[in-house]
Amino acid sequence: MIGATLGDVMKQLRLPLLVLLAFVLAACSRPVPKYEHEVLRTEPWSAEVVAEMASVAVQDNGREKPLSVLAAIRLYKIHGSRDVKFSIIDSSGGEQKNTLSPTEWLLDVWCFPDQAGHYPLFRIENSGVMDALGLKNDGQTPGFVYISYEQVFTVATKLRELAGEYSNVEAAQHSPVEAQVVGLWQQFIAYNQLQRQLEAFQYTVPVDGELKELFGSDYADLGLIATHADGFRAMISKLDSTLSNASESMLTLTKFIGSVAENDASGVGLVGPEEGEGDVWIPIGAALERVIKGQKGPVVDMITSLQKATNAKLLSDREAALLAYKAASIAAAGSHYNQVQIERETNYYHSSWHYQAIHWFLFSFLLAAITWMMPRSKLMWWASMVVSIAALGMLSYDLTLRCYITGHPPIKNLYDTFLFIAWVSVLLLLATEFVIPRRMALAAAPFFGALLIMFARMYEVSNAADTMDKLQAVLDSNFWLATHVTTINIGYAAGLVAAMLAYVWIFMRVTRIYHPSDVGAKALIRMCYGVTCFGLLFSVVGTILGGVWANDSWGRFWGWDPKENGALMICLAQISLLHARFSGWVRDVGFVVWAGIIGLVVVFSWFHVNLLQVGLHAYGFSSELRDAVWICYSAQGGILVVGAIDVLLRPNPARASAKAGVT
C-alpha cells in the first residue's frame, strides 16, 4: 500500500525530477577550457616523482606541511577547484584532455612557468569583469570563462587600481563585479607569489673577465653561483665599500643576487633552519645569500638541483633533479624535518577517508531506500546498517588521524565542525534506529552524513585555507577544545538531526504518505523528542562551559557576544519546546514546527554569527558562505512554510481508506 502512495508521489514529482536531472547532467558535462600556447612539457610528470614531491616539507603560515597541501590550498584559492582541467589541440587537430593534480600544477608553475602561465585558471563568472578590465570576452561557455595568468598579467595595472578602489568599500556592500575584481586581484597575487619563489632560476646574467673564468661559462645562474660560492666570496671581499673597483658584469651580478634575495613575498619557507638558528624556514633567495656568505652542505645541493629541475632539456633529467632536491631538503633541515609527520599528513590527504565515506554512505542510503520497498527484509536492514557503520568507521578513522596529526581534539576551526557534526549526526541517527527501528533514521543517517561531508569539501575549497593551521594563543587549550567545543557541536548536531526528523514528518504529512495519527508519524515525533532531549544536555552544558572558558581567558562569564548568543538561543529554544510540550501547549504539529525552527537557529549560531562582522568570533566576510547560509535558511524555511500551509488547509486530514496497510 505504501508502495502505491509512494508511486503517486513519484508521479507528481516526475517533472521536477526531470528538470533536476537535466541540471545535474549539464553541471557535470561542463566543457573543458582550452590551452592555447606552445606545449613545453610534452609528457606527463612521472607518478613516482609526483608522489615523492608531494611529501616535501615546506613551512607555511607557521607550520611545516607537505608541498602537496600547500599546492592544494593555493589552487583552491586561485582556481576554486581541486584540480586543473584543460584540453590541448595537437598538430593533427585532435583534442587531448589533461587533468593536473595540485602537486603537478605547482611543479609546472615552478619548472615550466611559461606553460603554467597560460593554463586557463582564473574563473571569471561575470562578463562585467572582463569589460571592466578591458579583456576580450570570447565566450568559451555562457556564464563563465577561464583566463590565464598571462592574460591577467596584461591588465594587472588596471586590476590593481580597480581592486584598490573597491577595497575601500566594505566587502558585504560589494556588487558582484566589484567582489570578483577584488577576488581576482587576490588570486593574481597568490599565483604571482608562488611563481616568484623559483622565478630567478629562469634568468642568466652574462659575465666576462674574472667571473667568466670563475664560473667556467660566459653566463652565471643561481646554480653556478652556489657551486662557486667560495671563489665568488673571495672576489667580493676584494671590492671596496662603494663598489668603485667592480667590473660592469660584477655590478650586474651583485644587483641580480640582491634582487633574488629580496624577491619572495610568498611567506613560504623552503629551506629549513640550521641547528640552533631558531625555527624559521627561509626562501631560496635568502638561502643563496647564506651560501655566498659561506654556508656549505645540503643547501648548496638544493640550489643546484633546482637549477637543473627548472632548466634541463629532458623531463627525466628534471625529475631526477627534483628527487635530488628532496633529499637535499631533508638533509638541510636536519632535526627540523619531521619526515614521519609529513608523510603521515601526505597520506592522510591522499587516502582521504572522509571522501571515501561519502560513497559508502550513499550506497547505504540506496540500501535503506530498498528497505522501504521491502519492509519485511531483515537482511536489507542489516545490509544498510552495516554499510553505514563501516562508513562511520572510515569517518572516525579520518577524524582520529586529524587529531593525531594536529595534536589537538577533533575541532579547532570551522572546517572541522562539518566532519565532527557529520560523525555525531550519523552516530545519533543510527542509535535512534536501534531504539525505534522504523527504517527512517536508517535512511536519514547515511544521507545526512554524506551531505555534511560534501558541505565540508565545498567549504574546504571555497575557504582555501589550511584546515590544520596553527591555533592562536587563546584557542590553544586542548582541555577546552575537548570539552566546550565538542559538547557545543554535539548540541548543534542534535539540533540539526531533530530538525531533519521534523522535516521528514512534514514531508510525510504533505505528501499524504503518513496520516498524523499513523504509527510511523508518531514514531518520528518520538525520535525527534528523544534527539532534542539528548541535544539539550549538550547544548546547555556546552554553552555554560563556553562561559567558564571565557571566564578563565577574558575574565567574564558572559558578554552577549554573537556566538554566545547563538548558543544561548539554541538552549532557550530547546528548553521552551520541551516545556511547551510538557504543559500540553503544543501537540505534534507545534512540536515539529518548533523543532524545525531550532534547525534555523542552529544555522544562525553555527555560521551566520561569524558573518555579522561583530564580536570575538568574526571570521571575516565571504559571499559564498553568506549564500550557503541563506540557501540553508530558504530550504528549511520553505519546508516549514509548505508544512504550515498544509496544516492550515487540512487541519484534520481524513484517513485514506486504504491506509490500514501502512506498516
Binding site: 603560515n61 607557521g62 594563543a473 577574558w554 552577549w560 538561543m569
Partner: protein, 462 residues
Amino acid sequence: MSATDTDSAQVPGESGAGDTSTATTKVTGTASQLGPLMRVVMTFSSQKLAVVLLVTLGLLTWLGTLAQIEGGLWATQKEYFESWGLIAELPLSWWGSAIPSVENQWVIKIPLPGAYPVMMLLFLNLLVGGMVRLKWRAKNTGVLITHIGIALLLLAGFVKMEYSYSGALALYETPSSGPEVPNRQYESSTFVSFHDYELALMKDNGDTVEELVVPESKLLGAIDDTVTLSGKGLPFELQIHHYLVNCRPLSKGPMVRVTTPVLEEPGGPGIYLHPLKTSPDREQNQTGVYVRVMVRGQQHAEGIIWGPGRLPFAQARFPFVFELEGARWAVDLRKVIYELPFKVRLSKFVKRDHPGTMTPADFRSWVSVKDGGQEREVQIWMNNPLRQDGYVAYQTNWGPQQPGPDGRPLGPPWYSVFEVAANPSDQWPMWSCWVIGLGLFVHMIMKLSRFLKSSTRTNLTA
C-alpha cells in the same frame, strides 16, 4: 484564566511524546476553590509562563545580536540586556542585504521587556514552579537537580552584574639590570576601570592628600545641565557643566566656531573642550567636563578636567588646581581606581610567534605577588589566570605593538596588560554546570530506560 490553563500539566498526554506527568504540580482544583493569592502564585509558577519567558528571552537575544551590527556591543548590552524594557528593531533583510537596499530600511519595531526583568521572573518561576511545586518523586530527581543548577546559574549572573567590577593593570618588565625608567609602572597594587569615570576632589594636607570621590552616575546630569556638588565642611561648591562623553581639549583658533565655553588662558587664545562623536566602543571615549568653584555664590575659579589614564605609565596626572584660604585643592576626572590587597610586579614577559608569522603562539607573564610579608612567583598566560584574595588577573594584552624598523613590534622592553576582576560569583557557573549536567543526564537516562521497557516502544516499532 482557568485552573486547567495554569495547571495544564494535568492534561493527559495523549500525544505520546512528552511524558506529561514529569512536571505534575502539587496544587490541584478549580479556579473557584483557590484563593486570589494562590491564583497569582500559580500563574507565576506555571509552565506556560516559563515558555513565554524563555521565548521572549530567545527573541531578545536574537534581536540583541543583530542590533550589535549597527549599535556595537556595549550600547546594545545596555539597551537589550540590562534594561527594564525597550523597543527592539528588526531590520528586514534578504540574502544578507537590507530590504529595500537603500538607506531607509524597513524595520519592524517590537516592544519587549529587557532581559533583566525577564530573567528575574524566570528565576521566580523556576523557584516556585520548578522546585517548590514540582512533585518530589524519584522520577523527577533529574528535573529537580537541573532546576537547582539553573537557579544557581541565574543567581551567579545576578551577583556578577550587581557586585563585580573589573579594570586593567598594565606593567612594564622590570629591567634585569640597570636602573628603572622613571614614569614607567613596574609594580602596582591598584587597577583602573576600563570605562567608568569618577570625579576626585583632593586636598593637599602637606604630607598627605585627602580624597573625596564622586561616582560617574552623579555627573551624568551635567551632560545638558549644571550639577552642583557640595559637601559638609567644604568651603566651596563645585558646579560642573558640559559633561562631554568623548572630547579633546583644544586651543581656540581665531577662525574656529566653538559650541562649548572657551576658558581664558594666560597669554594664549583660550582653551575649550571640543566634542567628538561618541564611540560605540566605550574604551575609545575620552571624557571631559567644565568645573567652576563657587565660594558663597561667587565664582572663584574655573577649569577643564579631562583625561584618560596612561597605563602602563605611572599615574602622572594633571588635575585642575586652585587655592582657597591658604589651602591647595585639586579636581580630577579619572577612570575609577580600585585597590588590591596585594602588590604585583612584572618580572618577565615572553611572546612567542608561530615560526615565520606574526601570529602569537603564546604570550605569558612572570609576576611576583607580594601579599603582606609573603612573596611568590606566578606565571599568567591565556586561559591561566592568577586567582588571589577574591581577585582574578588575566593576561589580556601586551605591548608596545607599534611596528619597529624591521616591521616587527617595537620591544623589548615589553609591557603586559592584565584584566583584573573582582567577582564573588566567579566559580559559581562552573558548579552550576556540573549540577545541570548531572541533572539532565540522570533525567535522560531514566526516561530512556523507561521508554525502552515501555509498551509505547513496542507499539511504535511493531
